[in-house]
């Protein structure tokens, strides 16, 4: 069957296009869909890799390998087996595991005391949550995303955020609330 990208579909390549659809289009050789996936997921993939590998160089390698794998294997994706985000997460995780195995450094000594750090299951769950939240952030309008970034991850007070952005304090609060509502919508199922 011949696959072609009809011109009428181009406007649908905006925010409403699902991950599954983009993966399928990528599998059919649609580079616009691939680029869209990259823009959506590059930061979550890089963040996940950085969190797991703790090294920017290897995280960059993992990011590149992830999207090389996406390009190579997108045609194997089947939406009947699940949504696109977990599939992409799996591809990224495999690329990161490969980077982990590629390390030549000897493993660290086994500590005498039990570690208080999160165990593998907790880490995996935390990684998946961060993946979802960071992916959801990419769906926000830019003006909401910048308010969230400054309000939550800088040392600025809300008044200072307002000053930094040159907007009234009330607008900062309005945008924060709107952004949280949008994120809640995007994270449906994550909020139990």
């Amino acid at each position: 069957m011949e696959y072609a990208v009809p011109s009428v579909d181009v406007p649908r390549m905006g925010a409403v296009c699902s991950d599954a659809e983009l993966i399928q289009r990528t599998g059919a050789g649609d580079k616009t869909a691939f680029e869209k996936l990259y823009r959506r997921y590059a930061r979550p993939v890089f963040g996940l890799a950085l969190r797991r590998l703790g090294d920017r160089g290897r995280a960059e390698d993992a990011l590149q390998e992830t999207f090389a794998s996406v390009w190579r294997s997108a045609r194997t994706y089947s939406p009947e087996r699940g949504p696109g985000a977990p599939w992409l997460y799996g591809v990224a995780r495999n690329a990161i595991v490969d980077r982990t195995r590629a390390r030549s450094e000897p493993p660290a000594d086994v500590p005498d005391e039990p570690s208080l750090d999160a165990g593998p299951e907790e880490r995996a769950e935390g990684s998946w949550t961060a993946w979802r939240v960071h992916r959801a952030l990419e769906t926000l309008p830019e003006r909401e995303r910048e308010v969230i970034a400054l309000a939550y991850w800088s040392d600025l007070s809300q008044s200072e955020v307002a000053e930094r952005l040159g907007i009234p304090l009330g607008t900062v609060k309005t945008r924060t609330r709107a952004a949280l509502a949008h994120l809640a919508e995007a994270l449906e199922g994550e909020l139990e």
């Binding site: 011949e2 696959y3 691939f34 990259y38 590149q64 949550t129 909020l191």
Partner: protein, 196 residues
């Protein structure tokens, strides 16, 4: 700095259920922290070289994709998939390799001499120039890089190296390019390209 939800978010006019939803998002944002900043060079998506619509029936997909990819790689470097001549070498086969979408390579294999030396010419496009490491071409055996062919560094966006190996390359042999990073990725390195 602490971020008490009630002070941070205006909840006037919201139902208790909606307030609880927003508060959970508020907690999640504090829990997961900021997303990582992409290095500038990775901010833009890689251009998928050779990405195009290739109509073919599903049962022939692998074969057609192989031929198409080989043709794309060969065409990208001004060569041909069929036998020809390159720098005085009689080319008997061309193997295409692909990594990330913009990363392609074409290996031209020449005729072996009486002693069994086989000349080859590898042209690689799109791999990053790396200061602390090098690339290496391998023959894949049992899914792993086994027989080294040659090592090289990228000198620009496209690099060509010529070398000989003391064996013949059977048609269909799988090849891979690995990256070996000193002190971080041990030999034979991690695979960055595979034959298609």
């Amino acid at each position: 700095m602490t971020r008490p939800f009630r002070e941070w978010v205006d909840t006037d006019g919201l139902s208790a259920e909606e307030v609880a939803r927003l508060e959970r998002v508020h907690e999640l944002l504090l829990e997961v922290g900021p997303p990582a900043e992409l290095p500038p060079r990775l901010a833009q998506p890689p251009a998928p070289a050779g990405a195009r619509v290739i109509p073919f029936p599903a049962r022939h997909r692998g074969v057609v994709a192989l031929v198409a990819a080989a043709a794309v790689a060969a065409a990208a470097f001004g060569g041909g998939y069929a036998a020809g001549t390159s720098h005085g070498m009689h080319v008997t086969q061309v193997v295409a390799l692909q990594g990330a979408p913009a990363q392609l390579a074409s290996l031209r294999v020449g005729s072996s001499d009486a002693a069994g030396n086989t000349p080859m010419e590898l042209t690689v496009k799109g791999l990053p120039m790396r200061e602390h490491g090098y690339y290496e071409l391998f023959v894949i055996e049992k899914g792993k890089p086994s027989y080294p062919c040659t090592g090289f560094r990228m000198t620009g966006s496209q690099t060509t190296v010529r070398f000989t190996v003391p064996y013949e390359l059977r048609p269909g042999t799988q090849l891979a390019v690995t990256f070996v990073q000193r002190g971080k990725v041990k030999w034979p390195g991690r695979i960055v390209m595979r034959s298609v």
